[in-house]
């Protein structure tokens, strides 16, 4: 009798409780002069209550809907994880390495995630898109993209 609502309900219950408790620390104030934690306390508490009711209503559901794995049946979640790691790496490297190099590397790796193109094609595509986006955003829209320690 596994059910995804049950786990997500518990997750949001925890989030709601943490929010409500932190709000208490920020100070509720009085009704006459509500403090900084006033509205978040209520939002967090209501979130916790609603999650609790989601949790209990999922208990009534006796059908086995499968656990987490059922959400990824026939899919390739590892590809998502790989893309996320690439994006996180980009976030940290774009400033030190600069826009041009990090974007080219990112695109080169991303084009290979789902595509089955030849290496030459991928290199060319990554180069074209990197230069193209640099022209549009840096030169045309003046977006001030990061230059990196190498100066470009």
């Amino acid at each position: 009798m596994r059910n995804t609502d049950r786990s997500s309900g518990l997750f949001w219950l925890a989030v709601g409780i943490v929010i409500a408790i932190s709000s208490l620390k920020y100070g509720l104030g009085t009704l006459h002069e509500p403090g900084p934690g006033f509205i978040t306390f209520f939002a967090g508490s209501i979130l916790a209550l609603l999650s609790l009711s989601l949790f209990f209503s999922s208990l009534r559901d006796q059908k086995d809907q499968g656990g987490f794995q059922s959400l990824w049946v026939g899919l390739k979640p590892l590809k998502v994880l790989y893309v996320i790691i690439l994006l996180v790496a980009y976030t940290f490297s774009v400033k030190p390495i600069g826009f041009l190099i990090s974007t080219f590397l990112l695109l080169f790796l991303l084009f290979r995630v789902k595509g089955t193109y030849r290496l030459k094609t991928i290199l060319l595509m990554s180069l074209l898109v990197t230069v193209g986006s640099y022209i549009v955003f840096e030169i045309w829209l003046k977006a001030q993209l990061p230059k990196g320690i190498l100066g470009f």
Binding site: G27, H32, T40, L47, Y90, K114, F137, A143, P146
Partner: protein
């Protein structure tokens, strides 16, 4: 003839070369975004928002609105030709549009979709011009308690109309209120929920949240899917013009769809999506040949297409008159107006008439441009559809990365966007809707403010919400809506009781 005078004034604004150019750019990008699956108008508008900061405000809003209604046009093209809706509001168009295409009538299907959108867009603009000023005049009398009640009503209606479980939508709305209140408290200047991070002191930006929830998460969902071949019709689109019989079958669905879409669009929560579904249902009921629906009935294309377009115009009413957004796109426009120092609300029409009437008139001109763009250029849009997803998704990601970075030239904004991207991905997996979160996030600080002001006004008594007649009516409506899902349960219980008594 005051209205006519205003519309001509607005046309004067909209026809200025700069505004014409921005309008054209907007509808062009909108159509493109509508055609491309996996990048919706919400993500596209938030992406382009930072780029407009240096442009004139009126032109920027004209462009951003153009993206919104342009996407509705573009979305129908992919629905009809490939059975893949470019965005949620054209899901219904797949039902009969794709069937028409399979019967070799792709041309008239695309044609009627464009004409229906044009007619309803035009009607809705007229409706907007007539309805907004009196509404704004009324809203001038509203104080903080009325605004607070209205926002509660808005969030309630949203969770009621939003897809999926109402309970989960309410949960997301609560979470959104908290996200919206992250940062320095305006009154006490104390940081809330910043985890010691500087980037959160100014609050969580709307743009990274929206791009994460609606752009990045969509890419993640597509990346894990197995690749499927998209079949595109290779037929020539000779006869794009619907014939007389087509018009006869479509004209009433178009008119009904326009009215329906406009009024549903005013309500908070997915106006365009819901109105297209409602319109389809209505036309199927009213049709003399309901069995034709789902097999290529032209009325099933015309009605919903009209409805989703006029709903986009209707959605502007609460934003421009009350300053309250009714969907995620309007929430971003609200943020944009704040940045341009033109806070939307009842005074907007009189304080910035060039913005209000200019934007409305530009929508009329934009609709005309879309008609010209969509019909003869259909071949180009079909070509764009052929860009394979393995090539497309890195581009979408790159645009989001650049968009987030250029907000403040800070990679931390990218990180924030990625966090909400992963959250949005998991939310879709576990069937939570992102729209209530975004809307509540925008309304959160406004609600905080109006609630505190109301309590200051009343000297700390919550009774202020129950002694003012407008508040009372609004909060009564809230209670009613919250009780609605319970009502069928009550009637079912009653029925069981009756049955057992009968036995």
């Amino acid at each position: 003839m005051d209205i006519l005078h205003h519309i001509f004034y607005g046309l004067g604004v909209a026809l200025q070369p700069v505004n014409l150019l921005f309008c054209f750019t907007g509808v062009l990008i909108g159509t493109l975004v509508g055609v491309l699956p996996g990048l919706g108008p919400v993500a596209a508008i938030s992406l382009l928002l930072p780029a407009t900061f240096r442009a004139p405000p009126v032109a920027s809003i004209i462009m951003l609105s153009g993206i919104y209604y342009g996407a509705m046009y573009g979305g129908s093209t992919t629905s009809i030709l490939v059975n893949i809706p470019g965005e949620a509001a054209s899901v219904v168009t797949c039902f009969d549009g794709y069937q028409m295409a399979r019967r070799g009538r792709a041309g008239p299907a695309l044609g009627i979709a464009a004409f229906a959108s044009f007619i309803s867009g035009t009607l809705a603009v007229v409706g907007l011009a007539f309805m907004a000023p009196p509404l704004a005049a009324m809203a001038l009398k509203f104080g903080p308690p009325e605004y607070f009640s209205l926002m509660v009503l808005g969030l309630t209606v949203l969770t009621f109309l939003a897809g999926g479980s109402m309970l989960k939508s309410l949960m997301m709305a609560c979470f959104g209120v908290v996200i919206g209140n992250v940062g320095l408290d305006l009154i006490t200047a104390r940081p809330r929920f910043t985890f010691g991070l500087d980037i959160l002191l100014d609050g969580v930006g709307l743009v990274p949240v929206v791009m994460g929830l609606f752009g990045i998460s969509e890419v993640f969902l597509n990346v894990e899917e197995k690749l499927s071949e998209r079949k595109i019709f290779e037929t020539e689109f000779k006869g794009l013009l619907p014939n007389l019989q087509d018009w006869k079958e479509s004209i009433w669905p178009i008119l009904r769809g326009s009215g329906l879409g406009f009024f549903l669009g005013i309500l908070p929560g997915g106006g365009a999506v819901i109105s297209s579904f409602v319109s389809y249902g209505v036309e199927k009921k009213l049709s003399k040949h309901p069995e034709e629906f789902g097999k290529g009935a032209i009325g099933g294309v015309a009605g919903p297409e009209a409805a989703n377009n006029s709903a986009t115009a209707g959605a502007f009413i609460p934003l421009l008159t009350l300053g309250l957004p009714s969907n995620a796109v309007m929430a971003i426009l609200l943020g944009a107006l704040m940045i341009y120092n033109m806070p939307p609300g009842p005074r907007l029409i009189t304080s910035h008439p060039n913005l209000f009437w200019g934007v409305i008139s530009s929508m009329y001109i934009g609709n005309l441009m879309l008609l010209v763009l969509n019909l003869p250029l259909i071949g180009i849009w079909v070509k764009i559809l052929k860009v394979p997803y393995p090539v497309l998704f890195p581009l979408i990601l790159l645009f989001c990365l650049i968009g987030a970075y250029s907000l403040n030239n800070n990679p931390a904004e990218i990180g924030l966007m990625l966090i909400f991207g992963v959250l949005g991905y998991l939310m879709k997996k576990f069937k939570y809707d992102g729209a209530p979160l975004v809307l509540a996030m925008v309304l959160g600080p406004l609600m905080d403010n109006s609630l505190r002001q109301s309590l200051l006004m009343s000297g700390g008594s919550g009774m202020i919400f129950f002694t003012r007649p407008i508040c009372l009516v609004i909060l009564g409506a809230v209670t009613l809506i919250l009780l609605l899902p319970v009502l069928p349960l009550i009637s079912r219980i009653r029925k069981t009781v009756e049955k057992t008594e009968g036995n």
